[in-house]
Symmetry: C2
Subunit: 328 residues, 2 copies
DNA sequence: CGCGTTTACGTCGTTCGTAACGATA
DNA sequence: TATCGTTACGAACGACGTAAACGCG
C-alpha cells in the first residue's frame, strides 16, 4: 500500500469511476492508475470496484470502507504538508473555498482582498455550490474551508466558526404596495404578495416556510434563484418582492429600489466558516478567517484549530456592525 | 512523503532516537533509515530531530507534531490492512495485548485459550506493563488491545468496554488475627495490620488510600508488588495480610490460606478492555473480547467498534458470575 | 468505430544493501 | 577504540509512459 495508490483510488472515486479522467486530475497516465489500482486490489485481496466488462461500474462495499480510510490518510498527509509549509513560512499556495453565491459575491471580496494583500502569491479558488455540495466537497478534501449560512444551529459535523449574524431584507421596486408602509410588513401581508427568493427557500424545512407555517399560511414563492443578482433583476422587472440577505444589498440597490426590513418572525441567520475536525490550515487560510471575523484573535483561532477543543465563541457581531467596521 | 518514511520516523522515535536499533525493528538497514529520514526532512523543509554531533539528541517541536500525524496515518493504514485481512477471512496474524500481571495471569488464560482454539494460527503476545505504560503502548500502536482495571471511572481516552466487576479480598495465613473473625474486618481493624498489596496502592489517589483517608486513617503498606503471586508468597511467609483482586485467588490458596472479604468501604473495581477510537480489530481480537465478556454480542461489539458511537453497555457481570459461567 | 480499460514493453528513477568513512565519548 | 550516523556506490526493483490490443456500446 502506498500513498500514491490511495491518491489514485480517491481520484478514481471522485471522477465517477472514470480512470482516464482521474489520470488527468492527478497528472499521470491512465495505464499507470489502472495498474496501481490493480496492485492495491491484489494486496488487499479483494476488488475495490465491480467491473462491468472492462469499465468500472460501482464501488464494492469493501471499497467504500477502504476509500473512507484512504481519505482520512490523505487528509492527514495534507495536514503534515500544510503544517510544514506554515513552518517554513511559505507564502505561496492555493486556497480553495467552498461557498454559496451570496457569500462569494457580497461577503468574501474584502476578506479575500485582505488575504491577497498579505499573501499575493496565493491562488484563491472559489468553488460555488449549493449548501449540500459545499459540505460534501469540504468533507472530500476538495476545499480547504467552507463559508455558509444557516437560520438556526451550526452544521453538525466539523468545526463551525460563527462569523456574523444577519437578517433578511425585502427588496421591492418603488411604488410597490409593500413600499408604501415604509416598514416591515407582517407575515400576513407578505403572504399576499409574490416573492422572489433563494432556491433554498422552497425546501419545506426552510426557515421561511416554517415561519409562515407557524401562522397557518404559505408564502407565494413566485421565482427562485441561488443568485442574489438574479433575484434583484426580477425584482426590478416587477415580478415580485425580493427576499434576500441584507449582505446582498448594494448602494445602487438602495438608490434604485426600496429596502424594507423583513418581518420580525423570520429568524436571524448566521454565517459560519466550516472546516473538518483536525484539518490543518495554511496561515493564509487563518488570515482569511481573521479577516472574516475580526472579533476572533488569530491565536485563539490557531489554538482551537490545533486543539480540536470546542471553543466558547464570543457572540459574533451583526453584519451591519461588521461591514461598518470594515469600511471605517 | 512516503509511508515508509513515516514508518521509519516512528520507529526511530520509538527506539529512543537510535537509528541502528530502529533499523532492526523495521527489518531494514541503518543507512536506509538515515537516508529516508534525511529525505523526509528535506521535503518538509526543517529538521525533525536536533543533532548533537552526529547523533540524534532530541525531537524538534515540529518533529513532535509530524510524529503525531505520522502515527495517525500509520494507524489508519493498519486499519485498512486489518479490515482487508478480516474481509478475506485470513485466520493468521498477531495479537498483542497490553495488560497488567493480574489480568494476564488469572483473567486472560481461558479467553486466550478460546481464541487459540478458534484461531490456532494467531500468534498472541502479552505485553505486561504497569497501568501507565499500558495506555502509552496502546496509544502508540504497539498493542492491539489493552485490558486493565480501575476502581472508578473508565479511562478517559479511547473506547472502554466494561468486562466484569470484581472485589478485593484479604488473604491471610491460618491463625492470623484477622482470620479468627471469619468475616470482613473493618477499616479500623485492618489499619492495625501490615498489608501486602499491589504497587499501585501506594499512590495517594489509589482507592485503597482514599478509603482509609476518608476515616482519617492510613494503611500500613508493608510490602508491594505488581505480581499477585509475589504477594501470596509473602503472605505465606507471614509478612502481613494480602489485599488483592479476587481473580487472583486460586483453589490452592483457598486450601492453604484464609480468604476474607475486604472491608465494604473499598469500592468495587471494574476490568475494562481498552482500544483507541477508530481502531479496526482483527476478527480474532473481537473474538477475544467476546470471550472476555460473553454478555456482549459479537455484532454489537463490531457495531460499536466500527461506528465509534458510545454504547450503552449493559451492566457487566461480577467476576464470580463470569467465572462460574465459564467453568459451567 | 469510438471510448475506455487492460496488457506489453522499454526506460528511467528510486530504493536498498554493502562497504567505507567520520565523528564522538 | 567502540559505537553510531553519514556518504558512496552498485545492483535490483518498481513506477511511469508509450504503444498496441481488447471489449463494449
Amino acid at each position: 500500500m502506498t500513498l500514491t495508490q490511495l491518491r489514485y483510488l480517491v481520484a478514481i472515486a471522485d471522477s465517477g469511476l472514470n480512470i482516464t479522467l482521474a489520470a488527468e486530475k492527478v497528472h499521470a497516465t491512465q495505464p499507470g492508475l489502472s495498474k496501481q489500482l490493480k496492485q492495491l486490489e491484489d494486496e488487499l485481496g479483494f476488488l475495490l470496484f465491480v467491473r462491468k466488462g472492462r469499465s468500472l461500474d460501482a464501488i464494492t462495499p469493501a471499497g467504500v470502507q477502504v476509500l473512507e480510510n484512504a481519505r482520512r490518510i490523505l487528509a492527514e498527509v495534507n495536514n503534515v504538508r500544510s503544517y510544514a509549509a506554515n513552518h517554513r513560512r511559505e507564502s505561496h499556495g492555493e486556497l480553495t473555498l467552498a461557498t454559496t453565491h451570496t457569500q462569494a459575491r457580497f461577503v468574501l471580496p474584502p476578506a479575500i482582498a485582505e488575504v491577497k494583500r498579505s499573501y499575493p502569491q496565493v491562488g484563491i479558488h472559489l468553488k460555488p455550490a449549493g449548501e449540500g455540495e459545499v459540505l460534501a466537497s469540504l468533507a472530500k478534501g476538495q476545499a480547504d474551508l467552507a463559508v455558509i449560512s444557516t437560520a438556526g444551529d451550526p452544521p453538525a459535523d466539523g468545526l463551525a466558526i460563527p462569523l456574523f449574524r444577519w437578517k433578511r431584507v425585502l427588496l421591492v421596486p418603488r411604488g410597490h404596495p409593500l413600499a408604501d408602509a415604509g416598514q416591515a410588513p407582517t407575515l400576513e401581508t407578505l403572504a399576499r404578495h409574490p416573492l422572489i427568493s433563494y432556491d433554498s427557500s422552497v425546501r419545506p424545512e426552510s426557515s421561511l416556510r416554517r415561519a409562515f407555517a407557524a401562522i397557518g399560511l404559505e408564502p407565494q414563492i413566485a421565482l427562485t434563484a441561488h443568485d442574489a443578482d438574479l433575484i434583484k433583476t426580477y425584482v426590478r422587472a416587477g415580478l415580485g418582492a425580493g427576499l434576500l440577505a441584507e449582505m446582498a444589498v448594494t448602494a445602487r440597490d438602495v438608490e434604485e429600489l426600496v429596502v424594507l426590513p423583513a418581518p420580525p418572525q423570520l429568524p436571524e441567520c448566521m454565517t459560519w466558516a466550516l472546516l473538518p475536525h483536525g484539518r490543518v490550515l495554511r496561515d493564509y487560510a487563518v488570515e482569511l478567517l481573521h479577516a472574516l471575523a475580526p472579533q476572533l484573535d488569530r491565536h485563539d483561532l490557531r489554538r482551537v484549530l490545533a486543539g480540536n477543543l470546542e471553543a466558547d465563541w464570543p457572540t459574533p457581531p451583526t453584519w451591519v456592525e461588521l461591514s461598518q467596521a470594515i469600511t471605517v
